[in-house]
């Protein structure tokens, strides 16, 4: 009988061992995923007790943590100076609803739990100091950001301004916006009410129109088609057919010019200057869908940009018949782009055909000001320098004598391209103006969206160009 009792003993030991092994597995195998689980209140609570790092725009603090003075159990209160202005950059940081944008993507650095900070944390903890998170310094220029917001006043839409040589995003404005302070409050009931209001507001104030929404780019897409043509051996003087209208192959619909292009033939430069739809439809067909798509993808379509704020990919349709290709060549049909993407197109052309990868975070600084992370510029060749130069010349013509005259600044080299995309001819929905100015070099992409509040029709040249000009002037 003792033998069997010993067997029971061995079996009991195995059961105990199974419990111990399972606990080991919880710690080693599951801990990371459990800590990152959005339902894990403990992890978030722990974050809320940390002196979270600042987010800066240059030297301006746009998100800060200050010692909490309310009755809640949290030690720190997140404060957003000028919240609505910087909301698309900072995002929000809420106990209930989690976080977004940089508050989300740089969370571990802001909390101080990133791998580069563990030693400092250990020293802080053992020496009795409260560990503090690192600061995230963004590329945003407060002057430009404010100017862009001011220029955008009265419109729904977005503005992206960037340095064409480095890819640094200098301004990133969306309208309407919201105040992230509402969601960072320690009054959780009020936070829930605010969240309800913000998420049910028909104007979608929490939508970032600059990087996270895609819209038909309209005639601004002609920059890509023209670049593709130049790369294929066209010159700005190559003549292209531009009848007053073309019939879309396989359908009874027609596509017509919205400006007077002479109804015969125009040069490529002239077609861009006047934004001749039929010329670019014909050009697109003669280049072929794959050439146009390849060019769009080289400029950055079909891949996401600015992951710091969760930027989305602009799209160019995967398969096209000739009718769809004609519409796509003028930035309609299923072509859709973020304002950031269109700024990247112009940036590439201004930077001699080399595309600087856009970025928003310049560096991450530890509380002792040591630099934990610094951005390294990344440049990808897209088009030849000569193509880029020709495109610049053509864009200058657009502003000098074309559809973009409203963006002219005396004594300054300004180039640009307007765009107006529409669901039907009488009802333009989106107005675009993408442009650049030299010395100092800057690229601005303006996107305006028509909605109930702005019943007047919006036009790229008439409405978006003046907005862009204001931002260009603010940069000087």
């Amino acid at each position: 009988m003792n033998k069997q009792i010993r067997h029971v003993g061995v079996f009991s030991a195995l059961m105990v061992f199974a419990l111990l092994a399972n606990l080991t597995y919880i710690d080693l195998g599951r801990q990371a995923s459990l800590e990152a689980n959005p339902y894990n209140v403990r992890a978030r609570q722990a974050e809320f007790d940390v002196h979270r790092g600042q987010i800066l725009a240059g030297d301006t603090v746009i998100a800060d943590s200050i010692p909490s003075t309310d009755q809640s159990s949290f030690s720190f209160q997140r404060v957003y100076a000028n919240g609505p202005l910087y909301a698309p950059v900072t995002g929000f940081y809420s106990y209930i609803y989690g976080s977004s944008r940089i508050e989300n993507s740089y969370n571990s650095e802001l909390v101080g739990s990133s791998s580069s900070q563990w030693l400092q944390n250990l020293i802080d903890t053992t020496s009795g100091r409260t560990p503090q998170g690192a600061s995230v310094v963004t590329t945003i220029s407060p002057t430009l950001q404010q100017a862009a917001a001011k220029a955008l006043q009265g419109y729904d839409g977005a503005i992206v301004a960037m340095d064409p040589h480095t890819g640094a995003v200098l301004a990133m404005v969306t309208s309407p916006s919201y105040d992230p302070n509402l969601l960072a409050s320690h009054d959780l009931g009020a936070v829930q009410t605010s969240w309800q209001q913000l998420t049910t507001d028909p104007s979608n104030p929490m939508t970032d129109r600059s990087t996270r929404e895609i819209y038909p780019p309209g005639s601004t897409f002609k920059l890509i088609v023209a670049s593709a043509a130049l790369e294929k051996g066209y010159t700005p003087d190559t003549m292209i057919d531009t009848p007053s209208s073309v019939q879309l192959p396989g359908s009874t619909s027609t596509l017509s010019n919205s400006s007077d292009c002479g109804n015969t033939q125009v040069t490529l430069a002239r077609a861009l200057q006047l934004s001749c739809n039929t010329a670019f439809a014909n050009l697109g067909v003669s280049l072929g869908a794959s050439t146009v798509r390849a060019e769009a993808e080289k400029f950055g379509f079909d891949s996401p940009h600015l992951p710091e704020v969760g930027g989305v990919a602009s799209t160019f349709p995967a398969t096209l018949d000739n009718a769809q290709l004609m519409m796509s060549s003028i930035g309609q049909y299923d072509v859709a782009a973020t304002p950031l993407q269109m700024a990247m197109v112009v940036s590439t052309l201004v930077n001699g055909g080399q595309q600087a990868d856009p970025y928003l975070v310049q560096e991450v600084r530890a509380p002792d000001l040591s630099v934990l992370y610094e951005h390294q510029n990344k440049v990808t060749p897209v088009v030849s320098a000569s193509t880029a130069q020709s495109m610049q010349d053509m864009m200058v013509q657009v502003v000098a004598n074309g559809t973009g005259t409203a963006a002219r600044i005396p004594g300054v080299t300004v180039g640009g391209k307007s765009g107006t995309s529409q669901t039907d001819a009488d009802n333009p929905d989106y107005a675009w103006f993408v442009c650049y100015a030299l010395n100092p070099d800057i690229v601005v992409s303006v996107f305006l969206q028509r909605d109930e509040k702005t019943p007047v029709n919006l036009w790229g040249g008439a409405n978006a160009a003046p907005v862009a000009k204001e931002v260009l002037q603010a940069s000087r």
């Binding site: 009988m1 003792n2 033998k3 069997q4 009792i5 010993r6 067997h7 029971v8 003993g9 061995v10 009991s12 030991a13 059961m15 105990v16 199974a18 419990l19 111990l20 399972n22 606990l23 080991t24 919880i26 710690d27 599951r30 801990q31 459990l34 800590e35 689980n37 339902y39 894990n40 209140v41 403990r42 992890a43 609570q45 722990a46």
Partner: protein
């Protein structure tokens, strides 16, 4: 049955030191909770310290008087676990906002300890229970099925394993596990030989005879009934597992285990298919995050353990308020979050040690019923702990069992103290020198069996000064009872017990022992081979001792159980002795290391 039993030294001081140390773990938790939460030692600490340590000293003194030979580690472990549980409940009291639980739990503990003292003082012979197998079974089954009585049973989180009387709730399974372990032991002690008989042989497996299957089928139906109607996999597994384990221990037939697993598996699969709520528990176990609103207990326990990490958040700094039932079912998660994975592992090891001490008690006991009873109690205790901690840590589907000694709840506390009291009484009986048994009504009839009386160093000294007199009129530490009942002097031998310090020859009192001619002259006396049925001490090696001359004081020590003891070289030292025949039965690989 084994008749040779090793006696054990009384280890009073060890027990007291261990009790105070074990109690200090929980008390430190209480103090640290105050320090971490309020930066101050709790104001009532002197009162609590007096009550808490006073209780420990009281139970020690009681045990020292009533059951001096009982295992000295069982009580300290029990009090350590109780202390950690109390500290956790106190810590939950601070954040729960409901009425404090610490006071009630302490009252339950006092009742439990009082019952323990009553039991150890009044119950001298647990073998009495042997006489009532059917009464005990009936009582056990009644208790198990009690929660199904309308208006009496209450459903908690889908499981119907509680009854509620006059505002008090009670988990009958807690008492039932003791009662049923006793009833199984009584039944099996009676039927060991019959159940071991082979029946038909199917697929290389010797099945028991159909006529012996009745009790197994009964237990199977009962277990399935618990699973279906009380909706608790843990309780069901606890009792069926207990039964299968005990039948295996009694019969040594693996076929019973396989049969049990097949029956339980088939029944379980059937229940799963037709009873949705058990399936739900399993879904919560496998994919808790698919049910964020329903599987919150498991999810929050996981978050707590992972956020606490290896070393824990510290006493009072976790978030047991996020875990539903953190004070009862989920208490191991609440504790584990604050004292870390390492701390929870230590708790599990404590439970394991307690179970191993229980099994060790079963090993050294002589009576079949008592052996089965002790083994059953220990294994039931382990199954319960395994089911609940495994459920909390997501090793198994969560069940509604309590965590012994830690969970809030009087019934659990009291029932488990009764369990410990029973184990202690058995342990005391098994470990005390068995000479009374030798002259008892049964003892003298045991032809050819051996008895050993052993003494500690201190006792030896006392014998020398006349303080203690040996109980039996024997000439040496080892005697043989001849057929006539005569005491035959035999060789000295080392019994192989670690706690023994020295074998001792006892001055022969009058009348002097006269060797019977049948055995005389036995110089050197051949070793008496232990009876085949008995896991006896290995036969003593022949020593050149004249039969008529009593051995000298420093007797040669012969390796027993394959363990070599340093011998004090005496004039009669036999030189290098060959190792005793190695009896694998005796190879105490399981129990020895823990003594």
């Amino acid at each position: 049955m084994a008749a040779t039993v090793q006696g054990y030294r009384i280890r009073g001081a060890t027990q007291l030191i261990l009790i105070l140390f074990g109690q200090s773990i929980g008390f430190a938790g209480y103090i640290l909770t105050g320090l971490f939460r309020d930066n101050a030692v709790p104001a009532q600490w002197p009162v609590l310290a007096i009550c808490w340590y006073g209780l420990g000293v009281l139970v020690h003194i009681g045990a020292r008087i009533a059951i001096p030979y009982a295992d000295p580690v069982i009580l300290p472990i029990t009090l350590a676990l109780t202390g950690i549980g109390l500290a956790t409940l106190h810590r939950i009291d601070l954040t729960s906002g409901t009425s404090p639980m610490l006071g009630n739990q302490f009252v339950a503990l006092v009742i439990g300890v009082a019952l323990l003292l009553v039991i150890v003082f009044l119950v001298k012979d647990p073998r009495r229970l042997k006489g009532y197998p059917f009464l005990l079974s009936a009582l056990g089954f009644l208790l198990l099925l009690l929660p199904l009585v309308p208006h009496l049973g209450t459903e908690v989180y889908g499981s119907r394993i509680w009854i509620s009387v006059g505002g008090f709730s009670f988990q009958p399974a807690e008492i039932a596990k003791i009662v049923l372990a006793a009833s199984f032991a009584a039944y099996l002690a009676d039927k060991t030989e019959v159940l071991a008989l082979a029946g038909r042989r199917i697929l290389g497996l010797e099945l028991p005879r159909m006529r012996d299957m009745g009790p197994v089928i009964l237990m199977w139906v009962l277990s399935l009934a618990i699973m279906v109607f009380e909706n608790d996999l843990g309780t069901s597994l606890l009792f069926f597992g207990l039964f299968v384990m005990m039948i295996y221990v009694a019969t040594a037939r693996v076929s019973w285990i396989i049969l049990g697993l097949i029956l339980f598996g088939a029944g379980g699969a059937f229940v799963l298919k037709f009873a949705g709520h058990v399936q739900r528990r399993i879904d919560f176990w496998l994919h808790p995050f698919d049910f964020p609103n329903d599987a919150t207990q498991i999810i929050q326990a996981q978050f707590g353990l992972s956020h606490g990490g290896l070393l824990g958040s510290g006493w009072g700094l976790g978030r047991p308020d996020l875990i539903i039932f953190s004070y009862s079912d989920m208490i191991s998660a609440a504790t584990g979050e604050e004292i870390g994975i390492v701390g929870l592992m230590a708790i599990i090891v404590l439970y394991g040690l307690l179970v191993f001490r229980g099994l060790k008690t079963s090993l050294v006991a002589t009576d079949i019923f008592v052996k089965l009873f002790a083994a059953g109690l220990s294994f039931a205790f382990l199954l319960q702990t395994f089911a609940i901690i495994g459920g909390v840590t997501r090793l198994l589907p969560l069940t509604g069992l309590t965590t012994p000694f830690m969970s809030q709840g009087g019934s659990s506390m009291i029932a488990n103290w009764i369990l410990v009291a029973t184990l202690l009484v058995i342990s005391n009986q098994a470990r005390r020198p068995q000479l009374q048994a030798a002259v008892g009504p049964e003892g003298v009839t045991a032809l050819g069996e051996e008895y050993t009386q052993v003494f500690s160093t201190r006792e030896l000294a006392q014998i020398g000064t006349g303080t203690i007199r040996p109980v039996l009129p024997i000439a040496t530490q080892q005697v043989r009872l001849g057929a006539s009942g005569n005491v035959v002097p035999d060789d000295n031998e080392w019994t192989g017990n670690d706690e023994l310090t020295q074998a001792v020859p006892v001055p022969a009192p009058e009348p002097p022992v006269v060797p019977t001619p049948a055995i005389s002259p036995p110089a050197p006396t051949p070793a008496v081979p232990p009876p085949a049925s008995s896991p006896a001490v290995p036969a003593p090696a022949p020593a050149p001792v004249p039969a008529s001359a009593p051995p000298v004081f420093s007797a040669p020590v012969v390796p027993g159980s394959g363990v070599t003891r340093p011998t004090s070289p005496g004039p009669t030292a036999p030189g290098p002795t060959p190792p005793a025949p190695h009896d694998p039965e005796e190879d105490d690989y399981f129990g020895r290391g823990m003594d």
